[in-house]
């Protein structure tokens, strides 16, 4: 379980957010500029909150009172970025293997094959990221984050850079991931439709605050025109 209670000032914008993720996929929902990405960046350790506490199960990742701030490379929090951020100088196979190498985990071919099959990226292993379509790139990015054996997987608008046909292509993979991979996820999006398919609980952010949190029924009241 991820528990977050943080404050962060970014210029004129102030984030003051507290929530706990219960189910397997927690949606961080809100319009652009509501602070969703900043929150996941603080969970991943890319930026540090000004005050507060972030804990994953019984591991404290950040606690300003206790002066704890685990560096991002020791958090074991997987992150799928909006633009994939695959390493352009490495093949798909080397991208997938990067997290395992950096975390000094033993090679696990069965696990690797399972993830590769789950995401259907076996035919791409020898390619460079520059030769992938947007959908393939995001699938590889998900696989790369999973293969480091994260305790939590953050997905920041993983479908935002894709057209609607590609979105429909990838969503089923993510749903399978939720049902089979057993890694809790935080899924950032401003699309109620997307979240209805994947999320189990919803945290609705607005202007850097949690407006509501609860089940998927929250999305039914989402004022679509405002988003």
């Amino acid at each position: 379980m991820l528990s977050v209670d943080i404050e962060k000032r970014l210029g004129d914008f102030e984030i003051k957010v507290a929530f706990e993720s219960q189910g397997s996929v927690t949606a961080l929902f809100g319009s652009s500029g509501s602070g969703k990405t900043s929150v996941v960046n603080m969970v991943a350790g890319l930026i540090a909150p000004d005050r507060g506490r972030i804990a994953l199960d019984d591991t404290v990742l950040f606690d300003s009172a206790a002066r704890v701030n685990v560096p991002m490379h020791r958090r074991r929090v997987g992150y799928v970025f909006q633009e994939g951020r695959l390493f352009p100088h490495l093949s798909v196979a080397a991208n997938l293997d990067y997290g395992r190498r950096m975390s000094r985990l033993p090679r696990d071919d069965t696990e690797q094959r399972r993830i590769v099959d789950l995401l259907d990226i076996g035919h791409l292993l020898d390619r460079r990221p520059g030769r992938l379509s947007g959908g393939e790139r995001q699938r590889v990015a998900v696989g790369r984050a999973l293969l480091m054996h994260p305790r939590l997987l953050l997905l920041d608008e993983p479908l935002a850079s894709l057209d609607s046909a590609r979105k429909r292509e990838i969503l089923p993979y993510l749903v399978r991931l939720r049902d089979e991979a057993k890694v809790p996820m935080v899924y950032v999006s401003h699309h109620p439709g997307e979240l209805r398919r994947i999320a189990t609980t919803v945290v609705w952010l607005d202007g850097g605050r949690v407006m509501k949190s609860g089940g998927l029924e929250l999305l039914d009241h989402a004022d679509l025109d405002a988003l």
């Binding site: 560096p71 991002m72 997987g78 951020r85 390493f87 990067y98 950096m102 520059g130």
Partner: protein, 231 residues
């Protein structure tokens, strides 16, 4: 007419050795300073930037003279190194390599810094979330991506070191077999009657070496670039 005399071979050999040693020794310092200038904000950054670039704008004779009074036998650093480590620069080929390295350093740092600045830092964040410490992220992501720029910087540094004249001759003089590089040899030959043919031979050699270095760097950079952007 193209039989090089033993003395000319010595000058050529010495020049190449000096340029290679200057480039190889300058490289780690160049990478470290380029990274600092590209990535860090600290007190005195513009001063450091200025000092690194000084040899580019100062008259080479001034740089050579400054080296002489600091790294010469009686200079503070020169005396310290000679007493404690037995490293002597004055009137030795090592001094020529030092002078060439200092003169070429700004070109090396500039090229590497530009290539560091061109790298998407978000890739380093991605490496961090995948468990790479900042040092490992540097060696597995930043440095490989900057490699074409590093190679370009090394070739510029090598070429500048090969052609350096003013600072070298001021610091370590023009001693055949010890500090007389191709440039210094050409200069000497143009000062003596009947030296034209020998000077011309060395000029051709200088052109060939420089062109070969350029072609080699293009080839390396293209290979490195291909590794990143295609298959």
């Amino acid at each position: 007419m193209f039989d090089l005399t033993p003395d000319e071979w010595i000058a050529i050999h010495l020049s190449i050795r000096i340029a290679i040693v200057a480039t190889v020794v300058a490289l780690p310092f160049g990478i470290a300073i380029a990274w600092l200038l590209a990535r860090k904000d600290f007190w005195g950054k513009s001063l450091l930037d200025g000092i690194v670039h000084l040899p580019l704008v100062l008259p080479p004779v001034v740089t050579g003279y400054l080296l002489l009074i600091t790294f010469g036998r009686r200079g503070p650093i020169g005396a310290f190194l000679a007493e404690n480590f037995g490293i002597v620069f004055s009137f030795r080929w090592t001094g020529a390599a030092l002078a060439c390295g200092v003169m070429a350093f700004p070109l090396l740092v500039r090229a590497i810094r530009l290539s560091f600045e061109a790298i998407d830092r978000r890739l380093e964040d991605a490496a961090g979330t995948l468990g790479a410490s900042p040092l490992r992220a540097f060696f597995t992501v930043t440095f490989p991506l900057a490699l074409p720029g590093v190679i370009a910087g090394m070739v510029l540094c090598f070429a500048k070191a090969l052609g350096e004249f003013g600072a070298t001759i001021t610091f370590v003089s023009n001693i055949p077999g010890e500090t007389q590089t191709i440039s210094a040899a050409i200069y000497t030959l143009t000062q003596v009657p009947g030296g034209d043919a020998a000077a011309f031979r060395l000029v051709v050699v200088a052109i060939v070496i420089s062109l070969a270095a350029l072609v080699a760097s293009e080839w390396f950079a293209r290979r490195a670039g291909m590794r990143y952007h295609g298959d």
